[in-house]
Amino acid sequence: MSSVTKTTTYRFIDWSTYLALFAASLVFLAGIIGPFFQQQLLDDRLDVSPGEVVELKTWQLKPQLIGAMRIDVDASFNNNRWTTYELRVLDEQGNLIVSALKQAWAESGTWREGGESGTWREKDVEAALDLQAGDEPETITLALNILDYTDTSGQPIEGESVRFHVRVFNGAIDTRYLVPGLIGTGGLALFCFLSTRNSGQETISKIVFDSDIGGRAIMGGDHNLVCCTLKIVADETSPRSLDVNLWLSDGYGENLSHQVTPVPLKFHKDEVGDITKTTGEFNQYFLLKKRGSYGVYIEVTPDDPVDKTVLKVRENVRTLTGVAVVEIARD
């Protein structure tokens, strides 16, 4: 007679899910603490007329490890105008070293559809530019310039100006990378989780429309975790829980272990509140030290309400946490 011991094992834990979750939380945390690295350098409002170049302020831009200098510009101007404005960065001698364009517009109007009507207003007026020093510190001056200011048909408009709200930050983090990063790492963590839960190779797979089920297969061995899963479907007359009797027998048909486990049931109800069915799931892990032919036999009691049982046995299973295991030693 082989010796049977019940223990908890942590040997078969697959740490990949935790590693992937760690990666996801790293990205998440990076997004949370990002704003703490940035300091505001300028918050200014000014009017600019088309054709004039307005210089704002001069800073020293040093090479830095974290973040960039971010220029955020919000323009406001009359409705139904289209404007192209330019952000200029000049060096100490006044030479242009960066020029960026924003084609901004703001329109509104009325709509009429099927007897209903209303007004609409849409705009795209904001611009942003991230700057980083090259190899050497540089003294830079920011300037604004309006290249184009027209009505909706492209006719230039004179005598109106654009009001800009300019904010400049240093140490700004580019959070646009973190969103796909979070989705990617989170998705991979989910894949790891699902693939660990479904790990292993199936040795027994049976469906019976009855309460007694069993099967036999060659499985086990050192460092090979066997997982036996039973799904029960019962009708509305079932009690709160059913008892699962599990027998494990060796290659000669001799009984190695027997255990009775109560399995609580989940009651499924339809819209009117009638119970349509009840379901339960039972899991048991085995460590069969000697590889060979083993039989798994299950009886669910009381058997009257049981409509269907599904037995699946998998070997070489990995787990997410420590699991209770029945260990059957060699002779």
Partner: protein, 78 residues
Amino acid sequence: MLTKILAILAVLIALFTVGAAYSSRSAVTLRQDEQQQRYWPRQGTYLNGSYRSGTWNYSGNRASYGGGFFGGGTGFGK
């Protein structure tokens, strides 16, 4: 085995995205010819020119930014 590959991939993605975000990979780096193709516009702000051996090569007057930026006419946007 598969889960290990997925987990390592997740760590690589985390390192790349956090690294790219914190180093502001897609910012304009002053006077660096090589790095400007990494520029990723924010709020539709496009560069008007490019670096050629460290000096800004301005695409110039308004005709050369493509022009043709006019109003959408009636009913635009709705």
